[in-house]
C-alpha cells in the first residue's frame, strides 16, 4: 500500500500531462489547444513539487523569531524545485498570453479558430498561388509555341 501511494504522485502527474498532451494533439480548437498546453505544463510542475516533499517536512520558511533567534523546526521541504516551478509558471502564463494574442489575430484574418478549417484555407492559399504560377507557365509555353 505504502509503495503504491509512495509513487502515486509520480503517476498522477503523468496522467495529467497526458490528458494535456491528448488535448494538444487531438483537439482542433485552438483555444482548447492553448488550455491543454497549460494542463500539460502543470503536470510537469506537479512532478517537480512532488520531488521536493520530504517525510514529515514543513514549508521551507524558517519560522518564528524568538528572543532574536530564528527557530528551526525541520525537516524542511526542499526549496529548490519550488523556485524552479515559480519560474516555470511565469513562463507558462507568458506562453499562454502570446498564444492567445496569436489566436485573436488568427480569428481576425481567418474568421475561425478551428485548426482543420484554417489548415484547409492555408492549403487553398498555397494552391491558388501555385495555380497562378502554373497558368502563367502555360501562357508562356503557348506564346513560345506561337513564336515557333
Amino acid at each position: 500500500m505504502t509503495d503504491v501511494l509512495g509513487i502515486y504522485n509520480y503517476w498522477i502527474y503523468v496522467v495529467l500531462m497526458m490528458i494535456g498532451l491528448y488535448g494538444v494533439i487531438a483537439k482542433p480548437n485552438l483555444i482548447k489547444q492553448a488550455i491543454a498546453l497549460g494542463l500539460f505544463q502543470t503536470g510537469i510542475f506537479l512532478y517537480y513539487i512532488s520531488m521536493a516533499v520530504i517525510d514529515g517536512g514543513t514549508a521551507p520558511i524558517w519560522t518564528t523569531i524568538e528572543d532574536g533567534a530564528q527557530k528551526f523546526q525541520g525537516p524542511y521541504d526542499n526549496p529548490l524545485p519550488h523556485v524552479l516551478i515559480l519560474t516555470a509558471i511565469v513562463v507558462s502564463v507568458s506562453v499562454l498570453a502570446v498564444a492567445l494574442a496569436l489566436i485573436i489575430n488568427i480569428k481576425r484574418s481567418y474568421g475561425t479558430i478551428e485548426a482543420d478549417e484554417i489548415e484547409r484555407m492555408d492549403h487553398e492559399d498555397r494552391l491558388s498561388e501555385f495555380r497562378a504560377g502554373q497558368a502563367l507557365d502555360a501562357a508562356d509555353d503557348a506564346e513560345a509555341h506561337h513564336h515557333a
Partner: protein, 502 residues
Amino acid sequence: MLDVQAHLPVLIVTIPLICGVLTIATGNGWKPWAWATAVTGTVFWLALQLMQQVLASPTGMVSYELGNWPRQWGIEYRVDALNAFILLIVAGIGFLTTIYAKKSVEKEIPADRHNFFYAVWVLALCGLLGITVTGDAFNVYVLLEISSLTVYALIAMGKDRNRGALTASLRYLILGSVGASFILLGIGYLMMITGTLNMQDMHERLMSVPGILQSRTVLVAFAFLLVGLSMKMALFPLHMWLPRAYTYAPSAVSALLAATATKVGVYMAFRFMFTIFGVGFSFVAMPTTLILAACASAGVLVTGVTAIRQTNLKRMLAYSSVGQLGYIVLGFSLANVNGVAGSVSHILNHALMKGGMFMALGAIVYRLDRCDIRSVRGLGRKMPLTMAAFTVGGLGLIGFPLTAGFISKWYLVQGCLDRPHMWPLAGVVLLGSLLAVVYTWRVVEAAYFQEPDDDRPVQEAPLLMLLPMWLLIGASIFFGINATFTGKISVTAAKALLGVGQ
C-alpha cells in the same frame, strides 16, 4: 573602473538584455535600428574578445560564477572552444542581420512599432547567446523560453504580408512549448537522480555514483531530452514547424532564424549528450548513433526532394535548411573526431551560406514583393550582385570545392568512413549534395538563362542589404579557401566533447 575582460561571459548576455529593454524608449524612425546595431556590434566585439580569451586560457575554458556563488549552488557560465565558437557565430550573424534588417523592416513592419520590434529582436539574440554560455541545466530552459517567445512574436510579424505567418507561429508555439516541456521534464528526471543542476556537477554525479547510469530514470531522461531537443532543432521527422515559419516570417527574421536558432538547438544537444551524459552513455550504451543517423539521412534525402518541388524560394530554402541540419546531426551522431568536427564546422558554414541566401531572397522581396521561382527570371542581369550572392551560397550548399560547404562535407565523409559499417552514410552525404545541385540549378537557370516576364526595370538591392549579404557570402568563400581557423576550432571542440586528448 570595470574590468571587461574578467566579466566577458556575463556581459555578452546582460548587455543585450539591458539594451534590448531600453530599445522601447528609443522612439521611432531610424533610432531603434541604430541602437540595435550598436548593441549587436558591441556584443560581436565582446564575442571576439571572449574567443581570444578562451583560446589563450590554459584550461581551454573560462568559468564565471554568477553572484559569486559556488557553481554547484548558483549558476555558472562556462565557455570552452565550442561555446565561444557558437557565440561568435550567433553574435556575428546577429550583428550583420541587424544591419540588414533596416530596409526590410521599414517595408514589412508597421512604422509605429519599430522600437518594440527591435526590442524583441535584441532579446531574441540575448536568449540565444544565453543558452550558449550557460553551464546550468535549468538556466538553459529559461533562456530557451526567452528565445522561443521572442521568435514566435517575430515570426508572427509577417502577418501583414501573409496570414500564414500567424498559423506558422502558433504551430511553432505549440510544438516548441511541448518540446521545451520535454526538456524541462528531462532536466527534472536528471535532477531527481543527481540532486544538482550544474551540468558539470551532473556529469560528475552520473559518472561516479555506481549504478546510476543503468537506472531507468536516466534512460527516460535521456529519451525525453533527445525528443525535446530534436523538436527544437527541427530534426526530421519533427521539423514540421520549420518550413512554414521560415517561409512566412519577415525576411530579416528568416535570415536571423535560419542562421542562428536551430544552430543553438544543435549546440544544446551537444551539451546534453556529450557534456552531461558523456559519450560512453549517449553513443555507446544507447543506440543513439543509429537513431540519429537514420533520422538525419532520411531528413537529408526527403527534404532535398521536397525542396526541388517548391515554387516559393523561401520555402525551398527552408526545406534545404532541414536537410542541412541533417548533415550537422549526422556528423555528431558518428561520435568520432572527424564527424563531430564536420558537424561543428558545418554549423558555421551553413549559418554563413543560409544567412546570405535568405538575405538575398529578402532583397528580392524588397524589390519585387515576392520570391517565387518565376519572379527571379532574368534577375541575373537586373540584380546581378544579389543573384550572384544567392548562387555562391547555393554552391556552398552543394559542397562545391573552394566554398565552406566543401570543408565540412569533407570532414563528414571522412567521419563516415572512419566508423566501421557506416560508409553508406557517406553515400547519403553525396546524394544530398546531388539534390542540392538540382534545386540550386533551378534558380540559377531561371535567373541567368530565362527571359523576364516583363521589362519592368528593377533596381539592384540597396547597399545596406548588399553589404551584410556579401560579408556573409564572402566569409563563406574565405573559410572555404582558408580553413585553418575553422578546422582548428572545430577539431579542438570535437576533441573536448569526445574527451580525447589534444
